[in-house]
Symmetry: none
Subunit: 152 residues, 4 copies
């Protein structure tokens, strides 16, 4: 019974897509709301950050870099968000996979930044984009990404 | 006398920089105000656009992509702004240079997008960044870039 | 009246998108049918070709390279299709823009291959992908691209 | 005696090539048959995948992306197949080498994706190309790659 439910959940997105050949997308309004929430959280914590939102094709909808953030964080935030769109999962999953024997193989995976701070954005089970955060510790980046996602 | 004045004007920026080893920079607040003004103008005209503001190193401070804009406009807007930072001039200058005999040589210039829509941003004669616009005709992109710059 | 109609056509795609935040997409079945039609046409003409179909984000759904085609045609076909997705227009539009004074500026446009053989694919006015063809003369590439598109 | 046999086996491929300066190659028909077999297997298992076949130079002959597969799998499948062509071995060999002390050095090997799912394709001992699969777990990707290869 549990396995059946799992299978239904697994295939649900595909069925929705297949039914009518239509898929949801992220608007600039969505991306701005998500980014605003992330910025509010990072300011509340006293962290300066780069906040990126990508669409389902991995293209930028919104990017903002707070004053004084290291410029390296721009490509890191872009890379984390791209990873989450390209692989439909949080970057932390790859970070965790790199612990333990043989985990370094993940470093050879094309387009994967294996550092917490990237989260995929789903609507009705379909990927519509991702948020990527960089500027503080990776755990802190993850906290801000989650705060952004909550606003969607 | 005229030549002397010219020399003074030419070296003025350098002198300012050299005086105290300080240079002005563009804040996220500046970039947001510039981008907001560009967005207001593009909406008033009924144009959908990508609006980019870069810092003096050519790195992104702010990017927003309005709904429905062709994804190609992201790299075009980035390229126009980069050109204006890298060469401290409007991209239209290069577009004009490409008219007439031998103008195609500009196409071999590294990091130059020779299409109107990119404008450098100066403060007290020092370059602090650039705005890049893409999404409509290049002349229309130029109008929106100018509207953004006016808000600085 | 004509201008009004033009404006309606211009904004129609955006309205459809905005209405329900949903957009159509191209399936592998669609891409295969389009590629098959292109291959049939190229064989009927005795041309060997690379046939590419991309999705709305510029990512490959289908690529096939017929025997004996120059390997350079792989990236050319990919580039033409990418251009048509990124700029929502046939690559021939850019090829034509390069004729006449100042036309070489198009060579500075990021992600643009200005050679006939790339066509965007629309569904209900929304871009869903593109076809790119390379292997024969650019006019012949365009003929095969059109034959592929007809099967959609 | 054993050593002599080894030398014969080692040089056998080279001798075949050297004999008449000819080498076998993979046709689009071959690549399609291999890809069809891989697709049949992946559908039978209920997995959605990207299926790539490259030639002996590492250039794409055939690529197909089933509906709903994460877009990251395109570059991963391409990378796995490229690795198998470039190094004439299954990608799993590199994955295994990464286990144990010092294994992470493989992550510095140019053009190596050290994750199961890439297999080289040989004809009469000569490399003619590779198959690369991505979309499910790496072990499952390997199963589908093997199923494709069996059809050659």
């Amino acid at each position: 019974m549990k396995k059946l439910l799992f299978l239904i959940l697994l295939f649900a997105p595909f069925c929705i897509q297949a039914q009518n050949n239509m898929q949801p997308y992220l608007s600039l309004e969505d991306a701005t709301r998500i980014s605003d929430a992330a910025e509010v959280k990072s300011k509340a914590e006293g962290w300066n950050m780069v906040i990126v939102v990508l669409d389902a094709g991995g293209h930028i909808i919104s990017l903002r870099k707070m004053d004084g953030v290291q410029i390296g964080s721009i490509d890191v935030a872009l890379g984390k968000a791209k990873t989450s769109v390209y692989f439909k999962r949080p970057t932390k999953v790859f970070e965790d996979m790199m612990k333990g024997e043989g985990g370094a193989r993940i470093a050879t995976l094309p387009n994967a930044v294996a550092i917490e701070g990237g989260l995929p954005i789903f609507k009705d089970g379909i990927i519509v984009g991702a948020i990527g955060i960089s500027g503080a510790s990776s755990a802190q980046d993850g906290v801000v990404a989650a705060a952004g996602l909550e606003a969607y």
